[in-house]
Symmetry: C2
Subunit: 208 residues, 2 copies
Amino acid sequence: VVFPSGVPLPRLPSPALQAESAAPSDRSGFLWLERLKVRIGGGEPFAYDVVSRKAVDAVVIAPHFERDGKRHVMLVSAIRVPLFTRGEAEPTLWELPAGLVEPGEAYASAAARELFEEVGAKLPESAMLQLGPNMYPVPAMIAEIHSFFHVEIDPDALVAPPGDASALEREQRRFPIALDEALALCASGDIRDSKTELALRRLKDIFP
Amino acid sequence: VVFPSGVPLPRLPSPALQAESAAPSDRSGFLWLERLKVRIGGGEPFAYDVVSRKAVDAVVIAPHFERDGKRHVMLVSAIRVPLFTRGEAEPTLWELPAGLVEPGEAYASAAARELFEEVGAKLPESAMLQLGPNMYPVPAMIAEIHSFFHVEIDPDALVAPPGDASALEREQRRFPIALDEALALCASGDIRDSKTELALRRLKDIFP
């Protein structure tokens, strides 16, 4: 591991982890739980639940363009069923386009596919540029990686987004907005999705 | 809803969501799955899985202090079992302290408790300052909210962190680092936890 900044994080000894399945997992649904029995070194075993699914990783895409001398981004709306279950009055969030990476699919390829499905911009995989390192959004719960991309789009050459044939994506809407305005809406709490704020902040580093 | 920036996000009509349980959920473990049958308006019902647990929300704390004229933060190490299950060679991440909010517990109170457990800094709830709006880290999967705090600590007045009595926290280590160095380690991919990068970037807005 190289630390370009010159300050190394301490290398911790790799923990002597042992994990075995404590119960068979029912993989018939979209999500499933791995019920594990974990031991560290010679310690007492403890129970640990991990969420999993067929497609574990996801891409987050910041589609952007210049208009009136200002960098803009394209947001999309997303109905989030878990918010509905906690009684949120407004279970629709404004987010950057994102989606799951199918098993065997390259991250950049998933980004190009999701960009077309959700935004209606048909661009090759080679147009997808990495937007900073991959991150773990909730590493205590699922092994999911978020891979971030940015891509210049032509807002006058978009087609109607075909979606992914799901009922949720049929309801999806697009909204173009100046990058600085989108960041202000993160600061005011109107944009409430973590990956969206993180990607917008990384994009701002590129387009100050 | 007020939009201080002057640019309103479109108000989407609240989706006519109906959700009912498609199967009883086994709540005997730490995590459980709600298997839902969801309908939007008069559309066809579709299956949707939501992860839940007793303590849904979490706090993220940025403990900071000045040393040699530079703002520093205290990171902690965290063994992340899900990373181990995907075969990650290094399943230990460097993160800001964080933890679940117990049912009925105030966010600021959870932040003060977690700060003591993980960092060994005993500070009152009133010292916990909000670090930007609450966010949804993975709103397609769980209703979890992340609530962000920052707090000035005295690095010379820390006690040994008592942890939460779990085997995982017994392995936890602290590491003080300049804020700018921590941000450089996010950019280089050495810090790989989304909430940590987001909180460090928000803290940098306060301490430029």
